[in-house]
């Protein structure tokens, strides 16, 4: 998913640029969760919904599902010239299609499902609206 706040890069650049929140919900979650100053527990109060969010952000790394998916990618690579590859290849592809998308970690899946709503809510915002300003004239 790409959002309109991508800035600056010339066309053809190998580097994709994203401004604040421009990379989608997965980027936002990854950028801000579990970061920042943690304040003394005794002055903070409980709020609904935070713990759930932190659990959802746990990332699944390597697993048997990952390994099998890598192997499916090997099926799709047509780099070995040996043998005829008609029917067996098609069988392999069909097997791949059946399991594809199953092994997504909880976070990415959730992010895909709800990201549409985020984009919508961002789309009609003026990019500068939330920008605080600094009173240079009164400084120090």
């Amino acid at each position: 998913m790409t959002v309109a706040t991508t800035t600056g890069s010339q066309s053809g650049s190998a580097l994709e640029r994203s401004g604040s929140g421009g990379g989608g919900l997965a980027d936002v979650v990854e950028t801000v969760l579990d970061k920042g100053v943690v304040i003394d527990a005794q002055v903070s109060v409980a709020v609904v919904g935070i713990q759930l969010l932190e659990i959802n952000a746990r990332i699944v790394i390597a697993s048997v599902e990952t390994y099998l998916r890598f192997a499916e990618t090997v099926d799709r690579l047509s780099i070995t010239p040996k043998g005829t590859k008609g029917l067996p290849d098609m069988v392999g592809d069909a097997a791949g299609a059946a399991t594809k998308g199953k092994a997504v970690s909880g976070l990415s899946k959730a992010a895909q499902e709800i990201s549409g709503a985020v984009v919508d809510s961002l789309g009609d915002r003026d990019a500068d609206r939330e920008r605080p300003r600094r009173r240079r004239d009164e400084e120090r």
Binding site: T31, V37, V38, V45, V47, R69, T73, V91, V118
Partner: protein
Amino acid sequence: MTDERKQPAGETGLFLYGIMPSDVEPTPDAEGVGSPPGEVTAIRQGDLAVLVSEVGLEEPIGRPADLTAYQRLLDATAAVAPVLPVRFGTVVTGEDAVDDLLDAHHDRFAAALAELEDRVQYTVHGRFAEAEFISGLLAQNPPAAALADQVRGRSEVECREERIRLGEMIAQAVELRREAENRDLVDAVGRYAVANAARPPSHELDAVNVAFLVTTDDEDEFIQAVEDFAERRRDLVRMRLLGPLAPYDFVSAHQLVD
């Protein structure tokens, strides 16, 4: 969240976004978390201020829009002044609690803000192009290529064990290459940053994931160095540069947990 911690209806708290110098003020239309979005204000004490907005204690905070509002506000603040992000989800009972917080830790906050003056975070995040990475690996690794020949064209039922072994070899190769890429990235662009912080991979195909703290005077050179790094890996890694951001990865030294 357990029921006994729910607050009575109608009670509100203050959601904390970040700590900043007191000469910064949110614009009137700055939007905070909550639905409808809370109005963002600054609570000041001496030379420090905290960005806050009121939230209902029974309202679930942590929806995608809340996270996005939090990040946008902090990133926009970081663009004009140093800011110490407060961990997402921190809510206190009221202004008194904010005053206590600033009283208790004034010197640490002030010192941290002085360090962050004119500095912003950039995060470099790259992901291997799966087919290209695996093709390259099979071309250079005969045992993996032999295993690939065994599984190709056979169903998972027929050769599940071989598939798992092949996939594991690929995953290990990704991990090794990732360590090398992260080192190379820091070698190539680290000189344009005052600090860097490795971030854990967020995807099994992650190639690099490092946060950099960059002085605003060095931003152009830093970005150019990242572009050059990306260009050298054009076909292998989808490289992204996130930022400028608030210094989320550079405040760990200021944690105040007892």
